[in-house]
Assembly symmetry: C2
Homo-oligomer: 335 residues x 2
């Protein structure tokens, strides 16, 4: 009996890390999951521990006798990951790796989670927001992804910050009254008596500001779901419409009539916030030239499938529609 | 010869701290200046040192024989200053204070720097932005001042962040081309070659993001002056127009036809950014009722005059137009 080569693929994120052992046919054999795997946000030691944890789970789940891994691919955000690649590689050797470790962009992993095509587009809107054009298998153009302070327009952070901003403005009369105020104050257990002022300032506003500044800025993304809650609220609808407008501009900025291919949507703002995704598709149809661009988007949960695609491709294995489908299908039974 | 009672007044700010010794007639006798005096942004020890430094300078400049101080007033931002009031008081005792120390809002100090009237309005737009209605000498309503993350709309931080955001968006094609991009990149010594991309991202954009995230967020306010630089630039003009719109809403939110009085403008966005202040006045005229509201604003440099006003009033001394003029006039000869 011939044993097929096996590979380790890891999707390391700012919230959680996922790992899979996949064989050369695209069959996923074991899956693992752990905590924060981004060395920039959590430090290299914590990231190493998360990657090792998820990888160990995946290897143990796939073990029937000793496992030898012929290669590894790690998908990860951030420009400085190259610096640490050898550290990941060393940890994987103890797990049975007998081959190379490649570090790839999580943006590319998100794209390849939706398709095997090497030309196309990705738009991701989770905590951050970023658009990409993929050409010949590489990132050809990237837009936004500028982080919470300078960009990520239309992202989960952006939505959460707009929700808090709208409530703060409504509380002192600068902004229109909105159902978001009560939703937000309730979620933070802040009592609201418009007559209660301290040094001229509405007390509930002061308490809201205190609660919000106690968070790290990016944690404002936890309030993003509130924007989808009050369907009849003009302020909430305006926030969602502006988010869609921003995301459409981010995608349109990378659209090139010369590059035709699928469009992949990732991140909860697009995959769970149905109306936003639809509005983005409507708004961008003209940007892709006379052909009209993609009429629909493939929704992806994360970059796990794409990391497996890249692990196989790094070993020279062709990933076509059948292999891509096998990765997706066998992975879904494991998690 | 009767020696008039003397008072210590301090305007403690997030950038610098100013102190003056003023007598009961409103004549300023000595002035001092030091560093950061805000205990929230710089810690209580640093703030205490700054206040003592400025106060010592003011006392020594005014000394003709021993100085006895009958009272002290400190104008300061932030809600937690009450906690530390006794610490300031103890330091002033060693400088000759034989009376009470009162801690007052820097917003009120800014307002009283422009007028002796106890009813009126203040709009401040420095690094932050805040509006206030003053009634019977106290803060009756406050709008915005919600800080860089949640508000301060139209402030120096807001302008600086919009400048960087516009340049970042222009660099990847999401935003319109703008003269701000070259101005900003030049100010940071970043070379700009549109063809130079790394992993699909314009290299100059990556460098700009790195430079901006190396700053504390509020330090983005240093880029605010760039918004005023390119007169014919549509993106810059749009930023200034939106800033004025935000500041007008902040002022309109506290406008009350039942409270008539002067309007005081403080902070460099309003006192040095001429067009913004004029646009705010235009936009708010309807908010003050049939009377039309203030046709012009008194511009103030900081809260120093107002701190002196509050030091005298805390001692029961009447501050009328003549006393206010004397404080303003004698202070201007000292600094």
């Amino acid at each position: 009996m011939i044993t097929m080569e096996k590979f380790l693929a890891i999707d390391a994120g700012g919230t959680s890390t996922r790992a899979v052992v996949v064989d050369a046919s695209g069959t996923c054999l074991g899956y693992g999951r752990s905590g924060v795997g981004n060395p920039i946000s959590s430090g290299i030691e914590a990231a190493l521990a998360s990657l090792e944890d998820a990888a160990t789970q995946a290897v143990e789940a796939s073990r029937k006798g000793a496992v030898s891994l012929s290669g590894a691919a790690v998908a990860m955000a951030g420009a400085s990951v190259q610096i640490h690649g050898h550290l990941f590689h060393e940890r994987f050797i103890t797990l049975g790796l007998d081959g190379n470790t490649v570090i790839e962009s999580d943006l590319l992993a998100g794209y390849y989670s939706g398709t095997f095509h090497t030309n196309g587009y990705a738009l991701m809107a989770g905590t951050g927001a970023v658009g990409a054009r993929i050409k010949d298998g590489a990132l050809d153009a990237v837009s936004d992804g500028a982080g919470w302070l300078l960009g990520d327009d239309g992202s989960g952070f952006w939505l959460g910050r707009e929700v808090v901003h709208a409530a703060v403005a409504a509380l002192d009369g600068r902004g229109a009254p909105t159902a978001l105020t009560a939703l937000l104050l309730d979620s933070l257990d802040i009592a609201w008596d418009p007559k209660n002022r301290i040094d001229g300032r509405v007390a509930a506003q002061q308490a809201l500001m205190k609660a919000a500044y106690a968070l790290r800025p990016v944690e404002l993304s936890r309030f993003a779901p509130l924007a989808f809650a009050p369907a009849a609220d003009a302020v909430a609808q305006d926030i969602l419409a502006r988010a869609a407008g921003h995301l459409a501009r981010t995608l349109a900025a990378v659209a090139d009539p010369g590059v035709q291919g699928p469009l992949v949507f990732g991140g909860s703002v697009l995959t769970k916030g149905g109306a936003v995704g639809a509005a983005v598709l409507d708004a961008v149809s003209g940007a892709f030239g006379a052909g009209g661009g993609p009429a629909q988007a493939v929704l992806v949960e994360d970059g796990m499938v794409g990391a497996a695609v890249m692990a196989l491709r790094a070993a020279g294995i062709t990933v076509d529609a059948a292999v891509h489908e096998r990765i997706t299908g066998t992975l879904s039974t494991l998690r």
